[in-house]
Symmetry: C2
Subunit: 528 residues, 2 copies
């Protein structure tokens, strides 16, 4: 997540000290791993790779850099051979005459080679330029060993000497990254998948998740390094199937629960530094996914204390959402509290919102049952109403597809979410997805792994396993063939070089919401 933009500075938040203390109790240990670069790289054009570039191994070796003096405009690229999140160190010395001027160099960190082709000056989008992983550094006295104080997310490091002086050159060596993650790799559940493409998709999903697991589940370690509720829900699902570090999920749930608005609404995302702080951005579906994430947690790890602590907060989200449902069982949203569903605003989201509400209400009913909440009957009535409204007014029986909005638009999202919400029978679900394939495929204008995830899961739920696998390969598999070490925040297979920000240096190429194949493969393929 990242693309949503709201300013609501007047909102007042409350901080529940008790819940924050609980969150802090589950603060994860960060594991460090020292990684050396595999080789020196050269950027070469390659039409088959993202952005038309790849990095090939240079004839110059890492060991030879030890003896290579670099002068004004000389550049080296280091390839760490995989994606890492962490702190970069190196040694710098001077060679030649005495160092009669400071060293000035630029250092850039790139997740994909095509970032290195860009010039940061050319980026002028609305998203902050401050995300560009580029530093300009003066060193007055050599030799020195430096560890850059900031954390970066990268596979490639490019060092360009802006200047030494005509009398001496700079020598760079002893490069390393101390990679950081709160994921414990030894806890990873072993898996064997016959299909090598699926195996690779699984592995890259796990690496993506691993690199987003830090002090909380981050959406992207390069940008915006934040805890988003919608992303958390998917990360948690992938996590149960892989590292299964459930206390990190618990920590994040407590954090969201601890900082609601005065009326009890949960923010779409939280900041962790300099102190816990909810963002002033609110999304209807993201607030509801608090219920969903709590439900998934309890399903995987029975935890009555967590339920006791957080059920009241979940219930509050339900109450706030209920207000948006009219007597007919139809959900009507306001502009000030929009549903996200997907970045694209090219399709009508009314039916998707309706389906998400149904999906979550089912989970709420199960939580209410465990909590022995008498209001369970209210939720059951609400659910029936919403389902009936959907069947009667949103399902086009003839087309066997759901319509959305005043223009009765058919779109993929509505079908996927209505299948996930289980509004129809098993056979009907299958038919809806078959019709979706027939009438609405191939997927067009969708650039988020987030939406693709829901489409693929709907295909699995509808019993269309082959089609689900085919779409997963066509989407996540294509990222791999384009060179992905981790899965990307945004990807449109029809337009591989598309960046929502107009420039790959702003894109996040390791993004939490794209890690779900690990979950999908474990849940729907491995055990069948």
């Amino acid at each position: 997540m990242a693309f949503t933009f709201q300013i609501n500075q007047d909102v007042v938040f409350q901080h529940d000290k008790k819940l924050i203390d609980q969150a802090d109790q589950y603060r994860p240990e960060i594991y460090h791993q020292t990684i050396l670069p595999r080789h020196v790289a050269e950027l070469v054009e390659d039409d088959t790779k993202l952005g038309g570039y790849r990095c090939k191994e240079s004839s110059l070796t890492i060991a030879e850099l030890n003896k290579k003096g670099l002068k004004r405009d000389d550049t080296i690229i280091l390839d760490f051979d995989d994606h890492y999140v962490g702190n970069f160190s190196m040694k710098i010395e001077a060679t030649g005459s005495p160092m009669d001027a400071p060293l000035y160099f630029r250092i850039r960190f790139a997740e994909v080679p095509s970032e290195l082709v860009q010039d940061s000056k050319d980026y002028d989008g609305w998203l902050s330029k401050s995300w560009i992983q580029e530093e300009f550094i003066h060193i007055d006295v050599l030799p020195t060993e430096i560890t850059l104080p900031r954390r970066y997310s990268f596979r490639y490091v490019e060092i360009k000497v802006i200047d030494t002086s005509p009398k001496w050159q700079a020598v760079f060596s002893e490069f390393k990254v101390v990679a950081r993650s709160s994921a414990q790799c030894q806890q990873l559940k072993p898996i064997h998948i016959e299909d090598p493409v699926l195996q690779k998709i699984y592995d890259v999903s796990v690496k993506t998740l691993q690199d987003c697991m830090q002090d909380v589940f981050e959406d992207g370690p390069k940008r915006d390094r934040r805890l988003w509720l919608g992303d958390l829900r998917l990360q948690a699902l992938a996590n149960y199937m892989t590292f299964d570090q459930h206390t990190l999920v618990k920590r994040c749930l407590y954090l969201f629960a601890a900082m609601t608005t005065q009326e009890g609404k949960i923010s779409a995302n939280l900041f962790i530094q300099p102190e816990y702080m909810p963002d002033d951005t609110f999304l209807f579906d993201y607030s509801l996914f608090f219920i969903s994430t709590l439900y998934d947690y309890i399903k995987h790890h029975d935890d009555s204390e967590l339920l006791q602590d957080l059920y009241p907060i979940a219930k509050k989200q339900m109450m706030l959402a209920q207000e948006k449902v009219n007597e007919e069982g139809r959900i009507i949203l306001e502009e000030s509290y929009p549903v996200f569903v997907d970045w694209s605003n090219e399709f009508n989201k009314d039916t998707s919102a309706q389906a998400i509400m149904i999906y979550v209400t089912r989970q709420m009913i199960e939580l209410a049952s465990m909590y022995q909440d008498e209001d369970i009957t209210i939720y059951q009535t609400l659910l029936d109403n919403m389902i009936n409204y959907s069947r009667d007014n949103l399902f086009d029986k003839e087309a066997c597809l759901f319509i959305s909005g005043d223009n009765k638009e058919y779109n993929i999202s509505s079908q996927a979410w209505m299948v996930l919400a289980n509004v129809l029978t098993k056979e009907e679900n299958k038919k809806v997805m078959q019709k979706t394939i027939q009438k609405l495929f191939p997927v067009k204008g969708i650039a988020t792994p987030y939406m693709y995830h829901h489409i693929v899961e709907a295909l699995f739920v509808a019993g269309l396993q082959e089609e689900a696998i085919q779409l997963m390969k066509a989407y996540w598999g294509k990222m791999i063939s384009l060179g992905a070490d981790t899965f990307w925040e945004a990807f449109d297979p029809d337009e591989p070089d598309y960046s929502p920000y107009g420039n790959p240096i702003m894109s996040s190429f390791c993004h939490a919401w794209s890690c779900t194949p690990a979950y999908l493969i474990r849940k729907y393929i491995e055990n069948r």
Copy 2:
């Protein structure tokens, strides 16, 4: 100094531990002074100031910055009201929605307003770009207080926000510089000068010297921050007349003495960090000025230990120089060991070199006498030879000017140095300088305060006090009228915006060799 460029990497230096220990014994205490900015400034065009710009006081106050959120491309300029050398600190906070992206800003330090008009990208000279006082800084978490780790030389600080995000702004406040100098202002000898222009020239000279007095006498605190022997000689002279911190001179003399080449030659300059190291640059006159600086020291502060320790090194410089004098008493230099005299290479320097050798030999004879060196007779013979050669072959009696080189060129430098060398009678000296004024003035093509110093001192020595004062005012006084807070490394009154590096961001506007009016005024004006 700075402009000289040599590479002699094969030279082997010796390090005399005993002399280095002596130098370290005189390592100065650095005094710190906390300075707050006087006001917020705005850059305005002004043809009467250097580079066509000055900074005027903004209607915005420093106090108001406390409440002013700055967003992408917003800029503020702080005016510290005088030149300082030191470390800059400030507080940075975020205002608006939560900080959803790092802060990225550029900070520039400028000695003169016209530096702020430049874009560092436009500089492409041979002198290292690394000297440009410009940093690009990311801050991940606000609020924070930062102290930039590097030392800068400046009066103006410009902060430009490259980006925050559309949701929040950055607030900068609590600016301060901790200014550094080893000069003890309370030791400054009081002076009263009737002429307000001379008083101002004196004050700016003292400030220039003060800001160049650090761990050693630096040539320029912005660039190149190094101990040059030719500059040291002039700084020491100004120092005896002002702060009189003679131990700092002593320290510098010991350092030069401690690190000669294997044949005993003294380098033109030394590096102090990361360890004491002589540069591989050698200048005939600079090596000789070791004798001159030692002589001046002993004249001002009798010190038999210093004489005992350093006389052998001084004698070595004399021996190496003697080899360049032929039987006729004529000095003949090689390209590999050139005479500096001035940056300009537009005039012939043979006669200047001859005069400098005579000037220094006189001082050597006095040192030899104090040291009771029997070789004093050799130096006396040498001196007589050189004087006779100069009178017989270099002095054009008809023109009453010295000639230089095969083309028998008249140039100002030859006259000034021959007068300083005292080759002629008092009356002749006066006539030479009168002729110089008549035939060779106004000074053309000379851009260094270093050369102007020698011309002005020659006028004083020749008894032309009014003319000396007039030239001092026309040169140093003009820098003041153009806006100087400290005197500049280079200045050509005919071309005020001239920079030897093609861009003012590379120029040093506080440069040691320009501080000599403090000495000239004290020696030739105050007491007469």
